[in-house]
Symmetry: C2
Subunit: 321 residues, 2 copies
């Protein structure tokens, strides 16, 4: 089993052939960052067209049964996900409608505060708002994964507390291993553990230790240290791997339509542009090397399976059935 | 069985109690006239809230199996319908998405020409457009009823020809019985018959003969004359009954956002406002009196059942399964 809880960029046949060849069980692509309802529906339309064109390579999964069916038929399972809640356009009713259309993962905020709560980049995090509470419970009800990766610490803790189901940090690292606003404090990780949630460890250079970018063993060491904090049942993979991403995409991710200023996202003035992928995962297919890597840093086969996908599958089962 | 293929206005608990008490099997309310994608999604959200509040009275049906389930559990089945295709906002992908959300009936045009074709009130009817063809076939594929009631004659004939499944004129009368732009020529009715489609006879005063407004027998006589034209397997009920409709609603139906001028819809300068309901159907529940009426004008019990709902059910089965 190999589950990556967060990738982004442009998926095409070559991408899916590589994911399939490399043994991916399931991947969550990003269908939107700032997109509103109509644009988000358009993205679903595009993914359905892609599914019709590449049905030999992947299927859009709505349940863990679909993920197993994909595995049995030699295809990659895709969970439709958004890195922001703008798709709901302030309507509680749209949570259920988008769930009906197959959306299974929604991050409460992207890089900016929104109606639901504060982001990791805001100076002051409001915590989970009144509408945010409504959305979290509605996502619980309809079987959508609450993703807290880019969400501010206070809002994250509020959401963990408020959610009636396990929640996800699909793509972040432990801030105690690499201090960065995008990474999660030990307090957050321990709260996530109590909630039954899962954090996906990232392989994106801007928020990942140098040693974990240099070799797969280094990355697996980082995973082991994350397990020390969160526990073996609460750590998985969320690479943040981006396919075929251009500067136009990066500008959209960082600036959306909200600013004309220069924005660095997880980068900085010292490292403003597109950063090289970690040396050990230049191609998405190299993620398969994590299996050996986990073994070499001392994980048992059973524990490695949890990290490689077992923990995500348990969370998906709990949330979406 | 009692199926009304078109009602409009504001449905509330009192309405559904009356429909249930009067033995309605299935009704298609109008969720939108000019509404765009977002407004149409909002309408679905409201209907889902209503279903949660009044689940003892009705259910939203997606298949004929749902209609039977409603009957078995003493509830009214509701087919979600729109009297215009603006909900798709020019996107072929949205046909499937709205079908997934439970929409089962869409009229190609309301009173004005749109991207799909011409309306019954346009001086010149373009016929079914290139996008119109795409939408009809996509509606066929995803199991939506193509409704041609307010559609112009040429576009109607084109759509009948082009559709791979039976189509519907959910609410119109025969123009040879009451000449009006909203009513359908014998040519159209005969083409509908060849296609396996169904026309729903209307009980709306502006487009219905005076005799058919005066008594239920008069209306059933009109139905009998329609059967003479279209055949016993192709005539059903589509009252166009409006619940709790105000002048604001009528203005919206007639003028949408497209004009500041005075518009009469199916009315006229001589009869500009809200017209009284036919004498025999002041309350929607009185539709049940059609069963006796059909018998009194000479229909066998078997043929009456076809008109009362059997023909619609056959069409629904053919279209939506």
């Amino acid at each position: 089993m190999l589950i990556d809880a967060l990738q982004c960029g442009h998926f095409d046949r070559a991408v899916f052939e590589e994911l399939k060849r490399s043994g991916y069980t399931c991947v969550t692509p990003t269908l939107g960052f700032w997109e509103d309802t109509l644009e988000s529906l358009d993205a679903i339309g595009r993914w359905r067209d892609m599914e019709r064109e590449m049905g030999d390579l992947f299927l859009i999964a709505r349940t863990t049964a679909d993920i197993r069916r994909a595995e049995e038929t030699g295809r990659v399972a895709v969970l439709l996900g958004y890195q922001n809640s703008n798709l709901f356009q302030n309507r509680i009713a749209y949570v259920e409608l988008f769930a009906d259309l197959g959306v299974r993962v929604v991050q409460l905020t992207y890089n900016n505060q929104n109606e639901l709560g504060g982001s990791c980049y805001e100076e002051k995090d409001s915590g989970l708002s009144r509408f945010g509470r409504e959305v979290v419970r509605e996502m619980n009800r309809v079987g959508m994964v609450v993703d807290l990766s880019h969400v501010g610490d206070k809002t994250t803790l509020d959401a963990i507390e408020w959610s009636e189901k396990p929640v996800a940090v699909t793509h972040a690292n432990a801030a105690s291993l690499f201090p960065h606003k995008r990474n999660k404090s030990d307090d957050v990780l321990r709260a996530l553990t109590r909630n039954g949630g899962v954090i996906g460890c990232v392989a994106y250079r801007n928020i990942t230790p140098e040693s974990a970018c240099a070799t797969v063993e280094g990355w697996c060491e980082m995973v082991a240290r994350t397990v020390d904090i969160a526990g073996i049942d609460h750590v998985g993979i969320g690479t943040d791997y981006s396919h075929n991403t251009t500067q136009v995409d990066i500008d959209w991710m960082r600036k959306g339509r909200w600013t004309r200023s220069v924005q660095y996202g997880a980068g900085s003035a010292a490292r403003p542009g597109k950063v090289p992928k970690p040396d050990w995962i230049v191609q998405a297919g190299q993620l398969a090397s994590v299996r050996d890597g986990l073994s070499r840093v001392g994980f048992s086969a059973e524990d490695a399976e949890k990290i490689l996908g077992g923990n995500w599958l348990r969370l998906y089962q709990a949330v979406m059935g």
